[in-house]
């Protein structure tokens, strides 16, 4: 039974839900083996693309597991996404473009836009469940407060 657009859309939203909840184990289950994850943007200052995070499966798993060891980041993120486009190429892969707004809420309950950008995902639809095989978080925003050890 081929994977529907709705299933792919749910996968993207589920990745936001689980990262918001910092349920990293469940979040990693949404990725295909050997996946890659990058956060990138275009720097007007140095007039070139740059990456602010670039990890493979093992590196990303270790990074997420180490987060609790750091001094506790204060406040929470809410990732509000809208899947804009799903493009199939062949039976096994689909390219998904998602508009993303990340809100940051302080411990006192004040909320601000932290960053806007897009997820460019390559989704593996060869199995019975869709899995994210490659995710590029393309940030429009480069002034991201004090930064974050939690990825986007």
């Amino acid at each position: 039974m081929p994977i529907s657009d709705e299933q792919i859309t749910r996968l993207i939203y589920r990745s936001c839900l689980r990262l918001d909840a910092e349920d990293f184990e469940a979040y990693l289950e949404l990725f295909a083996p050997e996946f890659e994850y990058r956060i990138s943007n275009y720097s007007v200052e140095i007039r070139k693309d740059q990456r602010w995070m670039d990890v493979n499966q093992d590196e990303y798993k270790a990074l997420l597991e180490s987060i609790p060891l750091h001094s506790k980041p204060l406040g929470t993120f809410a990732r509000h996404a809208n899947v804009y486009d799903i493009e199939r190429n062949g039976e096994d892969r689909a390219k998904v473009t998602t508009f993303l707004t990340v809100y940051y809420t302080t411990p006192d309950g004040g909320t601000k836009v932290f960053a806007v950008g897009k997820y460019f995902d390559e989704v593996d639809i060869s199995g019975d469940q869709p899995l994210i095989a490659d995710r590029e978080v393309r940030l429009e925003t480069r002034e991201v407060g004090i930064g974050s050890i939690v990825p986007m």
Partner: protein, 412 residues
């Protein structure tokens, strides 16, 4: 006849100097700085309810006059307050809003303090052998802390009178009721208000503004006996109103507001069904009773035109889920960000501030007098408490509230 500039800027035509104040008390940065020294760091300031720091290690961070503070219960069950800054490079030590901790660790260089404020650990301590300082002279600065009827207060002034003496008779309307039950906080919200902390507090104390709340108009102001309650003015700038002159309680008619019911069930021991009481503790705390609900409301100044209002709801510990839900529903009918009154109160304060800020409105009138036949007590829509508040403010500041910076005589 409208007023010309000259009339508008000269003091209002009222009987005495105590019946108006000059708006600079709300907007002037020098007065604000002086207030911190002479008023805010000399009086008892409400922090939180004991249920918020119930077990050893439970803490609550807050701030007063810009100074970050942490209030925490020690292993000896004593509640203490410290200036929340590391003795090394000054970082804020406890950065979370509330929680529990065995000791306090500064995240910058991992120095540690115990719950009594002693410095107990420094990485590579040998580095301080030669030039000092030693751990003993690096403990945290403690701020005087005391509890009245389950309410935790602090006072920067080590020599001030005790909390019980400071509150005195003003504790009468709520102390017994608080001690009748084991209470806990079930509601908390804070609101950033574009206005002076005194303007917020005095809105709580000014019952004349009940005319503007739809809820108060329908359920209280237009009911019989509403005006038969006297203001009970107390020393140290406090005051309250509860019973009528004849000792009977004032009972609010909640069912007059569409779809609400009267509050006859779940009433706190010591209150009559529907009973309303309010106590105002100088400089900034109001304790409200609405039969089934208790509200603790106080304002923290950030800048002359910016304060943070904190709203707490108290309920009975261990009551059933249904009772708690009913009590909560009634609390959020009137108080809390989505209630019928809260956003209106904020709107009044911000609307008045908008005019005072630019000097568009130089004066604040408080000349209402409504005396009882006994010629002593005044009715609740008189401004007697507002005059009492400004009297206490002027005494502490050493400046008249109607002309605090001698704008009239000496040119600034």
């Amino acid at each position: 006849m409208s007023r010309n500039a000259e009339e508008h800027l000269s003091p209002p035509k009222v009987a005495d100097g105590e019946s108006y104040i000059h708006a600079s008390v709300y907007t002037d940065p020098d007065l604000f700085a002086e207030e911190e020294e002479k008023v805010l760091r000399r009086t008892w300031k409400f922090v939180c309810h004991i249920s918020e720091v119930e077990k050893a290690g439970d803490y609550r961070t807050h701030q007063w006059t810009g100074v970050p503070l942490v209030t925490i219960r020690g292993n000896d069950d004593k509640v203490r307050t410290f200036v929340n800054t590391c003795s090394h490079r000054g970082a804020k030590i406890v950065r979370d809003v509330a929680g529990n901790m065995k000791h306090m660790t500064c995240f910058f260089h991992m120095w540690e303090y115990d719950l009594e404020g002693n410095c107990t650990y420094q990485p590579r301590e040998e580095g301080y052998e030669e030039l000092g300082p030693t751990k003993d002279d690096l403990s945290l600065r403690e701020i005087r802390t005391d509890i009245f009827a389950g309410l935790i207060f602090i006072n920067f002034d080590g020599n001030a009178e005790s909390l019980r003496d400071y509150i005195g008779e003003a504790g009468e309307p709520f102390e017994k009721i608080f001690n009748n039950h084991e209470l806990e906080v079930f509601h908390y919200n804070q609101t950033h208000v574009k206005g002076n902390w005194k303007a917020w507090y005095l809105t709580n104390c000014d019952l004349y503004h009940e005319w503007s709340h739809l809820v108060n108009r329908t359920t209280s102001v237009l009911t019989k006996g509403y005006h038969d309650r006297p203001w009970r003015i107390q020393p140290n700038g406090h005051g309250y109103n509860a019973h009528h002159l004849d000792g009977s309680p004032f009972q609010v008619n909640y069912k007059k507001y569409k779809s609400w019911e009267n509050r006859d069930h779940l009433v706190f021991k010591g209150l009559a069904p529907g009973e309303f009481r309010v106590t105002d503790i100088f400089p900034n705390l109001s304790v409200f009773f609405r039969a089934t609900c208790i509200r603790l409301n106080h304002s923290t100044p950030i800048a002359p035109g910016h304060c943070i209002m904190e709203e707490r709801g108290l309920a009975i510990k261990g009551e059933s889920r249904e009772d708690r839900r009913m009590r909560t529903k009634q609390f959020v009918q009137i108080w809390g960000p989505f209630s019928r009154n809260a956003s209106e109160d904020c709107a009044y304060v911000e609307a008045t501030h908008a005019c005072q800020e630019a000097g568009a409105n130089p004066y604040d009138l408080m000349s209402r007098v409504e005396k009882f036949e006994d010629g002593v007590h005044e009715r609740i829509h008189s401004d007697t408490y507002l005059r009492h508040f400004w009297g206490e403010w002027s005494r502490l500041m050493g400046r008249p509230a109607n002309n605090p910076k001698n704008f009239m005589e000496a040119a600034e």
